[in-house]
């Protein structure tokens, strides 16, 4: 039992803003005062300190074939030593971190949940093995659907029951959490060296278009009532002028409704918010996207904020990765995966004096600032935009125009004409930024017990050495940055795991997965699946992940 005394609490889900209050923890949950015996409690004096829910990263690449190939191809990344073996594991990595390092660094920062944003269903066991090796945090993985021949087939047949059954089956088989869509149709086109450019381009060899893939998957997702919405990485990622595709894709959510959450989450939008027709007249389309998102009540986005320095691009968007390889002349890994999906990896770096990189950096911030705080979550699309360990930088930037002005001086001045960032006066409040990093991502993902400090919530709590009542967020940004960088306490499932940025205890969190099989009749699709497995290189009976193989699975049943 734990008693966090006198903290200054910000808990947006429960509409608590800067209230001095006590939090009580029992059996890993937040409980009312009446349920605990104060004498038996470990007491944390949080006087004058900020108490918030543990951070929730809704989109990062933390486990599976992509990041692991990234590690393999970049030994220079692994030379940064973060922890020497002893009571805790050795942990290393500059931006690409080892599994222990991922858990440790999130925990040090007060983050307690992170979602792997893309796993090929056929390789999910690998993704889960890595997730199981990440200590400290809760996690889950999103299987990808947007280029899977079986998905195309269901949509070609316009058979929603089949599609729903397939989605439910595949999420169960991959022990996944939701429906990720990456460059729908484009990755299949890449198998012949192509891509799709418009929502209405036909996918080579199939009678489907990206528009249909997205729409049908939203429909299936909503009829299944999954906790999370469709999670979309749009077409044309990384291409100048792509903000129009993004706008069109966002509009596909019109006509769908869900009381609890959005029906479409568009991810790492920074990479999909470019105006212009080439890298020469490249600029920001962030304002238009933000305006559209603000006008709709069923779409959310996350930033995909680039951080200057090293990064590694890794996505299921294989054709984009090849384009990036040609553009940069950099190392390139690619993985065409059965008839399901693909992926690519290319090392990159964001340089402040590079006009394109400066604009990308500004676009991320524009999106964060111009989009309503209830609709944009904070991410770097780790490790695509850079390290998650710099979330405090983004938080501080969103809250301080002065900090942005200082940073704007250091970057290529092309941002002045190509983006709106210099003229944006918005300063998000602490309440908003806490929402963008806790309660909002939890709501977007459909995690009811995460991202808040209400009764019944998981006791994932971060305490920062920052008195918000006495902090000038506009001017004291350095202090704000430092405070969020190193949590004074990180509490995971009721246990103190970090104190002043030092690891105290190694714990292993749960892996959430969603079981929607009760919502469908699997038989409507199983014959197709069986027929289609002749094109797989493994047996259907050996496909998928059993719950008992996972370290700490937690099934969320959709009924």
């Amino acid at each position: 039992m734990l008693w966090i005394k006198n903290g200054i609490v910000v808990d947006p889900k429960n509409k608590i803003n800067l209230e001095k209050m006590d939090i009580f923890v029992k059996n890993g949950k937040i409980v009312p005062e009446s349920e605990i015996k104060k004498g038996d409690c470990k007491v944390i004096d949080a006087s004058g300190k900020l108490v918030v829910a543990g951070g929730v990263d809704m989109h990062a690449h933390i486990a599976g074939g992509k990041i692991n190939t990234g590690r393999t191809m970049r030994p220079e990344e692994m030379r940064v030593v973060r922890n020497i073996a002893g009571k805790f594991r050795a942990s290393v990595g500059r931006v690409l971190l080892t599994a222990p390092a991922i858990g440790y660094e999130y925990a040090k920062m007060g983050y307690t949940t992170s979602f792997e944003a893309a796993t090929p269903p056929v390789s999910s066991l690998h993704t889960h093995e890595e997730l199981d090796s990440i200590p400290m945090i809760d996690k889950a993985a999103l299987p990808v659907f947007g280029n899977w021949h079986l998905v195309f087939k269901c949509i070609e047949e316009k058979n929603i029951e089949k599609l729903k059954a397939l989605v439910a089956w595949a999420i169960e088989r991959s022990k996944g959490f939701g429906v990720k869509v990456v460059n729908p149709g484009g990755v299949e086109a890449w198998m012949y060296g192509g891509n799709v450019k418009n929502l209405d381009d036909q996918v080579p060899g199939f009678g489907v278009t990206p528009r249909e893939i997205i729409t049908w998957l939203i429909r299936a997702n909503e009829e299944l009532g999954l906790p999370h919405s469709v999670h979309l990485h749009c077409n044309n990622l990384g291409v100048p002028g792509n903000y129009q595709t993004t706008i069109e894709s966002i509009k596909l959510a019109k006509g769908f409704k869900n009381e609890k959450r959005q029906v479409l989450h568009v991810t790492h939008v920074q990479f999909n918010a470019y105006s212009g027709s080439s890298w020469r007249d490249f600029g920001s389309g962030a304002a238009e996207i933000a305006k559209l998102v603000n006008s709709m009540d069923n779409v959310t986005i996350d930033m995909g904020q680039p951080i200057f320095g090293h990064a590694t691009a890794m996505t299921g968007d294989a054709p984009f990765q090849f384009t990036l390889h040609k553009l940069l002349g950099a190392r390139w890994s690619n993985k065409d995966t059965e008839v399901e999906t693909g992926a690519g990896i290319v090392p990159i770096g964001y340089l402040p004096n590079n006009p394109v990189h400066a604009v990308q950096w500004a676009i991320g911030l524009e999106l964060g600032l111009l989009t309503e705080s209830d609709k944009v979550a904070l991410t770097t699309d780790y490790p695509n935009g850079g390290p998650f360990t710099e979330y405090p930088y983004i938080m501080a930037m969103l809250m301080s125009k002065k900090m942005r002005e200082g940073e704007l001086k250091k970057v290529h001045q092309y941002v002045q004409k190509a983006t709106n960032l210099p003229s944006i006066d918005v300063e998000k409040t602490l309440y908003e930024v806490i929402h963008m990093t806790r309660s909002l991502p939890a709501r977007i993902l459909g995690l009811e017990n995460k991202g808040h400090l209400g009764i019944g919530a998981d006791a994932d709590i971060a305490i920062y050495n920052l008195n918000p009542l006495e902090t000038d967020f506009s001017n004291g940004f350095e202090k704000v940055y430092k405070a969020f960088k190193v949590a004074e306490f990180t509490i995971k499932g009721g246990e103190v795991i970090v104190r002043n940025g030092e690891l105290l205890k190694e714990v292993y969190g749960r892996t959430f997965w969603v079981d929607a099989r009760k919502k469908v009749d699997l038989e409507v699709v199983m014959q197709d699946v069986k027929n289609y497995f002749q094109y797989y290189s493994l047996q259907l009976s050996n496909y998928g992940v059993e719950e008992r193989w996972l370290k700490k699975p937690e099934r969320l049943e959709v009924v």
Partner: protein
């Protein structure tokens, strides 16, 4: 039992049928059948040839390992990921060296990946899409007997429906069994893979004029013909083997092949992939990559991982007499390492964990028998293309699994180290 997963080669066929009565397997090749056949086992744990209990053997092994200044922990390609993970953590806690069988097999491909990445695909993409398959220095008919049928040569796929729709090319220094069933066999001079990859790149990028009339024993016209086939493929795959990684040029050969594939992707689609040998040699690299950042040749003497095949690969460590104890798991370095490396293994205390007696058993001070994954034990392995498959337990055994043995070792080491 149906859909048994084979734990012999990197093809990891998963369609076997096991007959519990006959204790034999159907559908698998000669190699797979040999895996599932009954054979001589190490009967009990032994110290200096004397039978002891598992606990005694483990206690003694841990004593040797914690007292070593630099223990080498080698093998890992024929065990499950669960055991490998414990092995990596054990190496980390002991301040030893972790290395795995790839270092004498396909690790040059990892070095090439460091240089250029690896534009690849799964075996399913070869089966379904590849209309041209090039086996370069690889001989699946002997090393991966069902590869051709299941995934590459005659596999029936979605877009490439049968053998007739697929062109199979073998590039090798000798007419191998695979060369016999290829459409085109190109015989090259040993040690000239790199030069030939360079020549093909030059031809494809419009610099054929620079290429002399013969390269590595192959006439220029023949290279132009090969380049044409490559350019005109819809979806090609170079599947390379030890002919490339173990000969002159090693990783540079693979690097150059990858550059060729990068170039080909500018006009069509090609992938390249290694024909990995042991059933879980991929896991033996992937697991340490996520645990400590590197695939092999990892030294923990400073308490954090460092990578340097020039210093920390098992052969270099042994040649330099740079380890004072060795834990060998699921491997037989005495049979497969050069003589000078074996000499050092004879000098130092060797602890072996393996189901079967082999040449390493003959030099080991401590021998700990283990269960066979895929027959007597369950676990996870990664096929040559990194597709994960779950190995099944078919029959009961009293042998401890590698996982259990290593878990016990780790527990004792942690206790010892405080």
């Amino acid at each position: 039992m149906q859909d048994i997963v084979c734990t012999f080669c990197g093809s990891v066929c998963d369609d076997g049928e096991y007959d519990l009565k006959k204790k034999s397997v159907k559908k698998f090749c000669k190699l797979g059948s040999s895996k599932f056949a009954e054979k001589e086992r190490i009967k009990a744990p032994m110290i200096d040839g004397k039978e002891v209990s598992y606990e005694e053997a483990i206690d003694k092994a841990v004593e040797i390992l914690v007292n070593a200044k630099r223990p080498l922990l080698y093998g890992w390609a024929s065990t499950a990921n669960e055991a490998i993970r414990l092995g990596v953590i054990l190496a980390e806690k002991l301040g030893g060296v972790y290395d795995q069988c790839a270092s004498v097999c396909h690790a040059p491909g990892t070095l090439a990946t460091i240089e250029e990445g690896v534009p690849g695909g799964t075996l399913g993409s070869v089966k379904n899409r590849a209309d041209v398959v090039v086996f370069w220095g690889s001989n699946p008919m002997e090393a991966h007997p069902r590869h051709g049928m299941r995934y590459s040569i005659s596999a029936k796929g979605l877009l490439v429906k049968d053998r007739k729709q697929r062109k199979v090319i073998v590039v090798d220094v000798r007419p191998t069994k695979t060369a016999k069933i290829a459409d085109i066999f190109i015989q090259i001079k040993p040690g000239y893979d790199y030069a030939i990859f360079s020549a093909l790149r030059a031809i494809i990028s419009g610099n054929a004029d620079a290429v002399p009339s013969e390269v590595g024993g192959v006439a220029k016209e023949k290279l132009i013909e090969l380049a044409d086939i490559m350019k005109n493929a819809k979806y090609g795959a170079i599947l390379y083997g030890l002919g490339v990684t173990q000969s002159r040029g090693r990783d540079r050969n693979v690097e150059n092949a990858i550059k060729l594939v990068q170039l080909l992707n500018r006009t069509t689609r090609w992938i390249i992939w290694p024909m990995r040998g042991h059933y879980n040699v991929v896991g033996a690299g992937e697991v340490p990559a996520w645990e400590v950042g590197y695939q092999y040749a990892i030294d923990f003497s400073r308490g954090y991982p460092r990578f340097s095949p020039a210093e920390f690969s098992a052969v270099e460590v042994l040649k330099r007499r740079d380890c004072d104890a060795a834990l060998i798991v699921a491997s037989d370095p005495v049979a497969h390492f050069p003589r000078i490396a074996v000499q050092h293994l004879k000098r130092i205390p060797v602890i072996q964990i393996d189901p079967y007696p082999n040449m390493t058993t003959l030099v080991a001070k401590i021998v700990i028998p283990s269960a066979v994954y895929g027959i007597e034990a369950e676990g996870t392995a990664y096929r040559m293309d990194c597709i994960p498959l779950r190995l099944k337990k078919i029959i009961e055994t009293n042998y401890w699994t590698d996982e259990k043995i290593l878990e016990e070792m780790l527990r004792r080491v942690e206790k010892f180290k405080g």
